[in-house]
Symmetry: none
Subunit: 195 residues, 4 copies
DNA sequence: AATGAATGAGAGTTCATTCAT
DNA sequence: TATGAATGAACTCTCATTCAT
């Protein structure tokens, strides 16, 4: 029974992830989610109290996994360079893997306190994870550096999302480009494809 | 006659800017915009064909001005350092000035072809403007570098938006921090408050 | 379950028949139909996709029944005279029974392809039914004769609709009058009340 | 001044005739009529009090002319046969001339007392005109005969309106067909194309 | 007499949510 | 636990009419 419950719970989250991700919060109907999850509309409300709650749960599952995996990958690495490139790879590969689900962050519902709170926490944890990497080198302003690094990565995802010809080579180039630029700066940077 | 028409047009754009900016596209009602602009609901439709069109016009006015001002400011500067810091200042000060209107970008309507097209163009023009600055130093991958720089800045705006204690000093610090980090990289960076 | 569904479906059609019939398509509000059918406004849209579709369904039910009954009645008769009088009676009695619902044909929505198509088919089937009766006597231009006969009948309904003193005797008189005139023509016609 | 006034008055009626006739009352916008008449929207209301009034005026002009012309044509004829064929020709040629304006009668506004009153009067005058023709032969039930004749004609117009291949020959055939059928009846009728 | 910008009541339709089964 | 028919508040947009110019 409990496992049937878990299965349905997951099925709803999967459907929500797909639809919220591709059409955004407002353009996704609860009935569509129910249909894709192959359950009745009313059943959704046995598992989630509202559309907002479901969206939060979808976001949470996705973001938590993002952080867990990053944490695990970082543990096995030693140098700051390696670790920063790991962050870069993790961030960009995430978007490369799920190009089509990016409305999840763009089109979130407004004014949902709990969601805003969660997203804030997520960003803080993500930033702290990167800051911890930097801490081994310098202890000043690591949160600010970390934040900025994440910003760089987040912009580079744009090509992934909008450039339809974007391929694996472009991906690898950007992964190295970002960590290198962050570490050495623009002035000392070699052109991206030589890095 | 024409000036009354222009006034009302502007009043609607102002009201739209305020409400779309604070509540996002979907959570803003046309009737609220009409009320804030102090006109009748029907009058909105004499000036704009639809809610989407109004949103596009609001966005356009805001973004065009952003680029025009940046262009003008860049012209009067000479070194790359100065110019990059100018970009940094322009970007962050924009958000500092209008903290409360940031939903304009977050919560845009989905699937509005013309809007998507415009935003793409905006980003390309913004990126190219920054790339042109970098071109005086290196001609390799300038679009990629420019994009990344903008990404850094865009993430730094987050503190502005969510940290309620954020003050003018924090602003100035981040402006210098961003350009310095971009130019010299993390490894050679001095702590931010010494830059 | 299905029968509750059928009941509600019928209730909506009944309400639509009454209101469209008395006020016409444009002067009837979906909310009025919902109210008369004793359901919520939104429920209408579970059964019909749009106001136009509902109107079409109402029309269809009414016209189909009209033809089915006529068909059945004609089968039991033998002479052309009897059959033509049966058509006459059927046509005029229909209007006599539902004087108040005649806006159904007058005030249909414009430009609804499916509705126009249906009405065209209805007229063709009605005409063919009458033409088949005539065919036993002559095979020339039966469709044209049939059409004309229906035209005569359709004009005679006007008194029914607008003459408030119109009674059953007037009805019977016109039923015989029409078939007799059609068969023998004006020149050889005896005065209507002697037929 | 007066003639300018008359010109504009006529221009509005012409535009109304065209648009009401092609799209019906409800699907025609006052603004479209103004545009077609080449005047401002507000000006319409200097000449007509409301959309309904304008529709009534358009109808009135059209119907009055219809009767006036018929009256004139009938005067020059002598035998009942000729006169009835004249009615037939007048009725069908009217529709043949203005196929595209037939929404004028189909899609009239509901519940406009004055319009309903006028249409009733129109029908009565039309019927009486035909009844007067019949009176020279028989004095019984002439109104009923007249009404029925008009009904025949009105149905025959349908082919004109919906059969896109309908040509002048078809028209002439129906004109003779109708009067002949009315006079001699179906039983003694010769096939239409031999009449 | 002529204008056309402004009005605002009111329409059809949607969809998150409920609840009897 | 699961259903899905039913709900009704809330939305965007229309258009006949007005009135200051």
């Amino acid at each position: 029974m409990g496992s049937i419950h878990r299965d349905k719970h997951e099925a709803i989250l999967d459907a929500g992830y797909t639809l919220f991700g591709t059409h955004g919060f407002y353009e996704t109907k609860m009935s569509d989610i129910a249909e894709l999850a192959d359950i009745a509309k009313g059943t959704l409300y046995l598992y989630f109290n509202s559309k907002e709650d479901l969206f939060l749960a979808v976001t949470r599952r996705d973001c938590d996994e993002f952080l867990d995996r990053l944490q695990a990958e970082l543990h096995s690495l030693e140098t700051v360079q390696e670790q920063l490139e790991c962050v870069s790879a993790h961030h960009l590969e995430y978007y490369y893997r799920c190009k089509q689900h990016t409305k999840l962050f763009f089109m979130a519902p407004n004014n949902h306190a709990e969601l805003n709170e969660y997203l804030k926490q997520f960003m803080e944890m993500y930033t702290r994870m990167v800051a911890d990497v930097l801490e081994t080198v310098s202890s000043e302003d690591t949160m600010l550096f970390a934040q900025t690094y994440i910003g760089m990565l987040d912009r580079l995802k744009m090509d992934i999302l909008y450039d339809t010809n974007f391929n694996e080579d472009d991906l690898r180039k950007r992964i190295r480009f970002a960590s290198s630029l962050f570490i050495h700066g623009f002035m000392s940077a070699k052109p991206a494809n030589e890095v």
